[in-house]
Symmetry: C2
Subunit: 220 residues, 2 copies
């Protein structure tokens, strides 16, 4: 594969929240989950699991939880962009509308991948720093990203969500999860309702990178 | 691009610790950093930055810190596999030898990407759970994985390391980082000394995935 072909996947990896209820064929799903399995993890421990939820009652229960959290989140999110230009506000409103659509159709999704992790299988090297820890995520979110890139390549829409972590005990009970396993992401999956994947808007590398220290923007 | 071509990249994404000192051309580096910029993040905030370290004195300083941490880590890691079979022990020893090589050549690497993040730009939805937090990582490690897959596609070796987070205040001082930005990964980069990328060993998807709940392994 040329690098360019990989980049074409990455630069069109949109968050897709409007998803059809059409089933995802087992062979496609198997390839997507296998792509996740290839991701690097600390000490190659693969300290994550996926509970793939396709059962109607469980999808309904997750959707109800997600909807309640989304409603609060959307209200807060709306406040954040009150000061933006009308064009930017309209763009954010489209994102919220897509989130509303996701909530309304959560129960009908073909599948939701609930990513779980076990901290005992991780060397959390930033655990003692005086700020929120993130390093455990280094052994799970590469797998999440592999899964989402695989979805992109297969034409399956998806979006990385973490709101359900706020009600983790309820999710754990619903999915019969053991005590020492926790949740880190929920990825709704399905074929896109609209145009699906396409160009994304991101800051350019030059705005995100420094040369040797924070004082010098990187110019390549 | 076919999905198969993406999978070929992913299933050969080895951790590569034996890296040459040959420079990485600016156009290659620019494409790799741009691939990172395309990754999804919560609310599209892109709450991460990269300090690309190529200055000799700073690489030497980082290498000295890394080497001291690696020595302790390797001793601990060795204890963990004392009970394994001779074949498995030999495999782990090869990993340690590669890590030793990385330490010995750290100062001569063409580049080290230090990933930084700002928790104020993140909605850390698992902050109130009674376990180590990981969700902040959901907005940075997809970018790390994009960068590493781009390295794979360009034939540039790399490995995800987090040991330097243990001495974060020293790294922040070395790189003139602002108070509210922290470090989450250091990715040494360079062309491979040996064969480079190739097949990896991972648990199969069937061992990592469940169907609707923890009690039922997924069979697709």
């Amino acid at each position: 594969m040329s690098a360019e072909a990989l980049y074409e996947m990455m630069r069109t990896q949109r968050a897709i929240r409007r998803l059809k209820s059409d089933p995802i064929p087992d062979d496609v799903m198997h390839r997507i989950l296998t792509a996740a399995s290839w991701a690097p993890s600390g000490g190659n421990q693969q300290p994550w699991r996926i509970v793939l939820v396709r059962d109607a009652a469980k999808k309904k229960a997750l959707g109800d939880m997600y909807g309640a959290l989304w409603e609060k989140f959307a209200a807060m999110y709306r406040k954040r962009f009150e000061g933006l230009s009308p064009e930017e506000q309209a763009k954010e409103e489209r994102t919220i509308a897509a989130g509303d659509y996701l909530c309304a159709h959560f129960h009908a999704l073909p599948a939701v991948a609930i990513f779980c992790f076990n901290p005992k299988m991780m060397a959390v090297t930033d655990a003692k720093q005086d700020r929120v820890s993130v390093v455990g995520g280094g052994s799970v979110y590469p797998a999440v990203q592999n899964l989402m890139l695989a979805c992109r390549a297969e034409g399956v829409g998806c979006v990385l969500t973490t709101l359900l972590c706020q009600v983790e005990p309820d999710v754990k009970a619903l999915l019969d999860m053991p005590e020492d396993w926790y949740t880190c992401a929920a990825v709704p999956m399905g074929y896109p309702v609209g145009g699906g994947y396409g160009p994304i808007k991101r800051r350019a590398a030059g705005e995100l990178c420094f040369e040797d220290g924070w004082k010098t923007p990187l110019s390549l």
